[in-house]
């Protein structure tokens, strides 16, 4: 760790923290979406189920992209 360039590491940490915060926001939206979809489904309205699943899939793929971004940045910031 002592060999790392401090500014590079700091930039990496900021990017990782930002990406993590974004994933947390996406997850909160997904939790809300799941509860809203379940609520409408239990109320007998099935029209919102398919858009809910599609949107949830999009949010998951965004979280997956951010996860790979975090891994890449993390590796890059550890590289001497």
């Amino acid at each position: 760790m002592a060999n790392l360039e401090p500014s590079k590491q700091r930039r990496g940490l900021v990017a990782i923290d930002g990406a993590m915060a974004l994933i947390v926001v996406l997850l909160i939206v997904q939790i809300w979406l799941l509860s809203a979809t379940l609520e409408t489904y239990l109320a007998g309205h099935v029209g919102a189920v398919l858009p809910g699943a599609i949107f949830s899939g999009l949010l998951f793929s965004a979280a997956l992209t951010l996860n790979s971004f975090v891994s890449r940045i993390d590796k890059a910031s550890r590289r001497p």
Partner: protein
């Protein structure tokens, strides 16, 4: 190598069980991000499960059941009955000379029994002040998230027959 341990070294048990709890409990950013992504996958799977369930759900079948005689209850009067099973309590209301409506008596908030308030012409849940419209069972006020399930009625001569339950 010394045969004896000096007295001011670490305790013997720490030498023999060299597990560092603080290191074990440390969660790196990458691990935490992975956990969040897995949680996101869980939410997506939940949505997919609802989708699959809605696609393959069988439409429920309801028996036709005689619930009352048409002139058995007065105008703005009620009759309690059970439909489609003895555990499903319902309320039949005569709103005018020839109009009857029936709903599940179970409040959609926390399942308290609703009653008909003739003075306010609405269905009321006494537990948390949830009010429902008599016309269609929709929520007028209060915490209930959904309308009351409506019982579809048919009239055969003087008999009122329940044939289905909508929104249950």
């Amino acid at each position: 190598m010394s045969l004896f341990r000096s007295p001011n070294e670490e305790p013997l048990w720490k030498d023999e069980f060299s597990v560092f709890t603080s290191d074990e409990r440390y969660v790196s950013r990458r691990q935490f991000t992975k956990f969040l992504t897995l949680a996101s996958l869980g939410m997506f799977v939940g949505n997919l499960w609802i989708l699959v369930k809605s696609r393959f759900a069988k439409a429920p079948t309801f028996p036709a059941m005689e619930i009352a005689e048409a002139n058995e209850i007065p105008i703005r009067g009620v009759k309690l009955f059970t439909y489609p099973t003895p555990q499903d309590h319902c309320i039949l209301i005569r709103t005018s000379e020839d109009e009857y409506v029936a709903y599940s008596q179970k409040c959609t908030h926390l399942s308290c029994a609703v009653y008909y308030s003739a003075g306010n012409d609405q269905l009321e849940c006494p537990c948390h002040q949830g009010f429902f419209s008599v016309k269609d069972g929709s929520v007028l006020q209060g915490p209930p998230p959904r309308p009351l399930p409506q019982i579809t009625l048919e009239r055969e001569g003087t008999k009122l027959i329940a044939i289905a339950a909508k929104g249950s």
